[in-house]
Amino acid sequence: MPDLFPQPGGDGGAGSKPARVVDRAGLDAVIRSLQSRGYRTVGPTVRDRAISLAEISGVADLPQGWHDSQSPGSYRLTPGADLEIFGWAVGADSVKRQLLPPREVVWRAGAQDLVPHEEPAAGLAPLALVGVRPCEVAALGILDRVLGGGRVTDPRYASRREGLFICTVECGSPASTCFCTSMGTGPGAESGFDLAMTEIVEEDDPRYLVRVGSDRGAAVLDEVESQPATLRDEAARQEVLARARTRMGHGVVTEGLPELLERNLENPRWDQVASRCLSCGNCTQVCPTCFCVSVEDITDLAGTVERRRRWASCFEVGHSYIHGGAVRPTTRSRYRQWATHKLGTWHAQFGTSGCVGCGRCIAWCPVGIDLREEVSAIRASDGMRALAPRPGGG
């Protein structure tokens, strides 16, 4: 898959430059170096007892000692006294919010002349993401294709994306809800980054093995005190990734998945999941690749017209509304749309899966619906049809 927004000078994979090792102070120096280059640095922080992306000024703002436990319908973050900084899996917040804000004013027009004047977009200053997981980098790759790979691109997404500096941290602490290995997006980072770190926690202070993915990544690392990575460091990295793979929850069998779903649109399992699903849309809000937006025009008392764009969800009844009623009026049709889009028709539309296996939709579903289980239930009952045709279909 070609990179739509390649990191400048990146070779798509690490290895052109030998890896280095930095300590906690070196990690701090990386953040400071990015700031001195004019980047706004954003990374994981603790907010409302969840890992959340926010502006960071240095390593002290990172969630040191915090650990999570996640399961279907449940997310818990607890503090600890240890020095591990990246000892957690993703929270509800994702990189999506940084590049595709939940709400945006596109233009305003005066009541008299109705000339639309575009509102300057927020967040166009160069951004550096520090400490985001490989699944997040993969999610960006998917958004790149959706919002930047078609005939018409979202210009604001594209400008935020073009300048983006990515320092990813490989995953050593997946949750039981994670399944990046089966989606091929983690726990290691292969491409799409400027710097990729692996946190190695042994008896002493954590150290960070750093691989370079681009020229600007190399320039930043050059400014920081670092040691060449030893064979022992490399082995420790492999151990982190191997441990992550075994700690991961069960996965999804992706082979032939789009075809499986396409021939199971009438599988009775959709009725079964619909009886549990609340149609709340939490899953779409937390999903890092769900890109649906609605466009709304509003007039204030002075007659000024404003066009807004906001995150939308295919679980809203109005999402599919056409004159005469919603195309997908039932929870069954809406859950089916969501799941078959993510894992199936996304391929036809954008040439990639719509799921990176981050598990957010599983942990943040109030009733604990597990996408992986729904898929395996469909696979197990492949070919079964609903008993009666649905009434009211259009």
């Binding site: 008299q112 939308a312 539309q349």
Partner: protein, 287 residues
Amino acid sequence: MALAAEAVPEVRHPLTPLRYRVVGKRRETEDTVTLSLLPLDGPIAMTKPGQFNMLTAFGVGEVAISISNDPAADEPLEHTIRAVGAVSSALCQTPPGGAVGVRGPFGTDWGVADLGQSDAIVVAGGIGLAPLRGAIRALLERRRPTGKSHLLSVVVGARNPSQLLFEEEMLAWQRAGAHLQVTVDTARPGWSGPVGVVTDQLARAPVDFATAAALVCGPEVMIRYTARTLFDLGMPRDHIRISLERNMQCGVGLCGHCQLGPWLICRDGPVFTYDLEAEAILASRQR
């Protein structure tokens, strides 16, 4: 309203419309009007019959509306709009001289140019005749009856006679050589034409189904049955073109609202070939 021309910025956000002035307004039926529009600040790109624009009623909202004339003709852009809700009503109520916003053109077109000299049958239900009007005009331009057969057959269905669009113009199509069949779901006193669904009319259309091409637009059920009937009458699938409709918020593949299975209707349609895949997709309910 003070509507002076404004310089248009080089690069616009895809959700920013251009202002057009309403220079003509024709009432078609009780709830449907045709607006003639000329650019105030600058024109959108050249359009083809079957494509659509996103029209803004300023302060109310924006909806997808097909281009209803043949944009190749030297005349203002025309949109035929049925008032069914807030935005379409506001558009219909825009007075001559007022401004609407236009973004477009979007989507695939009827592909009239590649129909060559083969017979064509146009099947429309309700407001579905609007996106076909430009195609009919283009088809009449391109082909004159040879005397052998009617090269263009137009089959129109409406709920009742008062809902018929472009009545006078239909007579002009007939004079220009089109074969015309009009049917209504419910007759009114004075209606002498057929009563019933369009599919009942198809077999009587004087076209060679084996070689003809069809353009179909209307409610989705009507499209499904029409396409299937044409296929059963011997028309090859790849000669049947249908135009589909979904909720649309952007027109440019960025909002996700217009999905239908593997398609984004605004990007991959609205005009599709009725192939096996399309038939299967239309067969699944609530998709």
